[in-house]
Amino acid sequence: MTITEQEPATAAVPRGASREGLIFEHSRPGRRGYRLPPLDVREQKDLLPRGLMREAIADEVEVSEVDVIRHFTRLSKLNVSIDAGLYPLGSCTMKHNPRLNEEMARTPGFALSHPLQPDHQVQGDLELIWTLEQTLKAIFGMPRVTLQPVAGAHGELTGILMIHKALSRTGNPRKYILIPDSAHGTNPASAAFAGYEIRELKSNSRGTVDLEALEQAVDKDVAALMLTVPNTLGVFESDIRKMAEILHGQGAYLYCDGANLNAFVGIARPGDMGIDVMHSNLHKTFSTPHGGGGPGAGPVGVSERLVPFLPAPTVERRTDGSFYLEFHRPDSIGRMRAFNGNFGVLLRALTYIRSMGPDGLRRIAQIAVLNANYIRARLKGTYHLPYEAPSLHEVVFSDRNQTAHDVHTLDIAKRLMDYGFHPPTIYFPLIVSGALMIEPTESEPKEELDAFCEAMLAIARECAERPELVRSAPHTTPVRRLDEARAARQPVLRWRR
C-alpha cells in the first residue's frame, strides 16, 4: 500500500527529526562537559570509612557540552508542544505559557532563597505566598487557600484528609466518598489514600449527577462527594447548589475537583456554590508550563468550617505588615510536603494572574468556552456527540460514526498527528465509549481552530474512503505505532551496556 501521496505536509513532528541515540551511547572515554575550579584546600585522605567510599560510577557518561546540547536539542525536536500549535488535550488545559512568568521565576532574589531561612530574611517570598493566597481567595470566593500541595492529586489528598479530620472531630470520620463514574482517576485514588472506600455514582442521561440518585446515596456513612466542575464532559452541574444542600443536610462535604476552573474563572466562584473544598491546578488555569508532565501546583481552597484543618505552616501577616510562617495550628492535618510547596510555580501563577487582571481572567473563560463550542458546532454530526448538554470549555465526541468503517478513536488520534496536531485526550471520560475529549483553551485564534476542524473533517472522510490509511496512522512521525504490549510484557526500564 502506498500512503505517501496522502501524507499531509504539516506533520506534527517532521520525519526529518530522526532518532537520536541515548546519551549513554554518546559516551567517549575522557570527554568532559564541565570544569570546576582547582581544589583550593589540602586534600585529606581517609575522610570516609573504607566501606562507604565509592569507586567511579560504572557506566556513567563522559560527554562534552556540545554532545549534551546537540543530544537534548535533537530530543526536543521529537516532541510536539503548545508553542508549536493547538494541543487540545482535554482536561489538561494546554494554554499558552507567557515567558514573563519564566523570567520572574529566575529572579535571583527568589531563585536563590532557601526554604529554611528565618522569616525576617524571606519577607519577599512570604509576601508573595500571602498575596497569592489573597488573590486565590478572591477568585475562589473562599476564606482560606493552602498553597502547599504541588499537584492536583496532592491537593485532592489534602482536601480529603481535611474532611476526614473535620468529621473525626465530630466523632465519626465516616466510611465512603462518593465519586461520579465520569471522574478523573486521581479522585478515587486520593480518597483511598486518605482512608476511605469509594462509592461510584452513575451519571444520568445528561452525563451529570442525578439528584435523586445522590439523595439516595448520601447517608451518615458518606463523608463527601468529589465532584468535577464543570465535569469531564465539559458540562456544568447546574444543580450544584442543591447537591451541596443534600450533602450538608447529612453532615457530608462537597469536594470540588477544580481541574476545569478555566471554564468559569471570573464568571462564578466555587465558594458561592456551596463547595467546601476545591483544589485548582495552577499549571492549567493559571498557565504555568506543563514541562512534559510537571511540575505543577494544586492549591486548595476551603470553606470556613475547614479552616482549622489546613496544612501547617500557613503564611500570616502581622499588624505591622510583616509576614511569618505559622506553625502553631493544633487542628491541622499536618504537613503535606517538606518546605513551602512549589514556590517557583506559585510565582509564575501570580505573574500570570496579575498580567491578566480581573477582566482578563473573565475573558479567559469566555474565549475558552467560545472556542470549545465553535469546535463542537463544526464537528457535530460528522463526529457523534454522545451528550447533548451544553459544553463549556471542552467537548467530548465519540467514534460511533467511524466504527462502522472499523476505524476507532485511537486511529483518529494517531491520524491527527499526520495533520500536525497533538491528539485530544482519548478514551476518557470512561462513560463515553471511544471518547475524544477536546479542549482548545482560549489561546487559539480562529485560524488554528479552523485548521484543526478541517483536519478532523478530512480524517472523517478518510475513515469512510480510505480507512486503512487511518488505521495505520501515523505515517509522518519520528516513530510509528509502538508495541506497547511488548514494553509491558518484557519491561526494559533502563539502559544497560
Binding site: 530530543l75 485514588a189 518546605f339 514556590f343
Partner: protein
Amino acid sequence: MLAVIGVDSIDRLFESIPKDVQLDTPLDIPGPWSEIEARRYFRGLAAKNKTAADHVSFLGGGAYAHSQPACVDQLLLRAEFLTSYTPYQPEVSQGTLQSIFEYQTHQCLLTGLDVANASLYDGSTALCEAVLLAERVVKNRTKVIIAKSVHPHYTETVRTYVQNLGLEIVEVGWTSDGRVDLEALRKACTGGVFAVAVQSPNFLGVLEDYDAVAEVANTIGAVKIAVVAEATSFGIVTPPGEHGFDVCVGEGQAWGIPPSFGGPYVGFMVVRDALKRHMPGRLVGETVDVDGRRAYVLTLATREQHIRRGKATSNICTNEALIALAANIYLSLMGKEGLREVAMHCLQKAAYLRDRLQTISTVTIAFRGPVYNEFVYRTPFPAREILLDLEHQKILGGLPLGEFYPGHDNEILVAVTELHSREQLDQYAKALSAAVARGRR
C-alpha cells in the same frame, strides 16, 4: 464564530451556570499589568529577601546551593520540553520519553538499584510513597521505623500521609556519633515492623552504617529504605543498593536545581527489580514501533490511578518531569568524572571548614561520625544569636538545629558545597570567632 455556534452572545454559552451564582461584578484583584509593571513589582518583592544572591550561604538541611551548568537552563527553556505535557502519545513525545528513560538509568546507576520511576514530587513525598510501597509488599504489618535523623519535614509528611491508614511510625534516635542507635533499632525491630528507613547523610550530616542497619532490618524481613536528601553524595558514597537496601528515595534538588524557597524539586524512587510492579508513578520502557525502530513509551500503567483508580499504587498524576529533565541534563554533563569531582570538593571543603572551626576554643563538633558536606557544631550560645551575628557579617551561617530537635539550641547545621572558595571558608571561621567572642548575654 457565534453564528456558527448559533447563539447571539458569549453569555448565552454560560446559561448552564445558574444566574444566582454568576458574578455581577469583576473579581476584586489588581491588574492587568504590563510586563514593565510586573517586573517592577516582582523585582521589588525579591529585593526584600536576603539570600545567597547577596550573602555567602551555608544553608543545607535538604536544599543545597550547587552550581548549575549554564546549558541546563537554556535547554529547559526549549519550548518542546517546557510546553508539552505528559507523553501519553508516544509518537509525538519521544523527546520527553527518551529523556525520562535516560533519567531512570542515571538513577539506577547512582543508587545501585534496578528500577527507577519517572519522578515523584520531592524527597518528603517520595519517602511517603516508599513507606506505602513497603506496606503493600510486606502484608499484615503496621509499623514503620523511621530514624529520628531522617529529615524532620519528611517524617512529618509521612505522618500526614498515613494518619488514617492504621500505620504506626516508630522513631529511633542517634548515638553520640550522630549515627542511628543500633541497639534501639534492634529493640524496635519487632514482628510488626514492615520497613526501616534511614537517611544518609542524615539530617545531622552524618553518614549511616548501611550494612549494620541492613543486618538488623533483615532479622525481621523488613523492607530497607534509604533516604538521600543530598544527592551529590552519590558521587563519592557507596550506594544503598550495594548494601542490600531495597528502596532508595530522595530529593534531587542538589543536582543543580535552584533552592527557590522549596520548589519545584524532584523526588526520586529506585527499587529492586522484584518490587517494580508495586512502584508508584510513571515508568518509561523501551520497545519498538511497527517498523522495528527502537522507541520509548509509558508502561506498566496498570499500577496507576487512571487505570486502577481506587486501587492504584499511588494517586500521583502530574509529577516533576521538567525538573527530572534538568537532573538528566546535569547528570549527563557532569558525568562519571564530574559527579565524583563535585562530591570530592564538597567532602574536602567541608572537612577543611570543620577543622578550621575546631580551632576556635569555644566551638565543638557535635557529632563524631563520618560526614559528607554537612556537619553540626556547638557553641556556648544560642544558635539564633550566633546566626544573627553572622548575618550581620553577610553570612547565612547555617540552620539552628534546635528548631528541628528541641534541646539542641546551641547547635548549628552547616553545609558546604563546591561553590565555596577557601577564602569564604576562612571568612566563615573568622566571622564565627568574632561572633562567639561577642556572644555574651
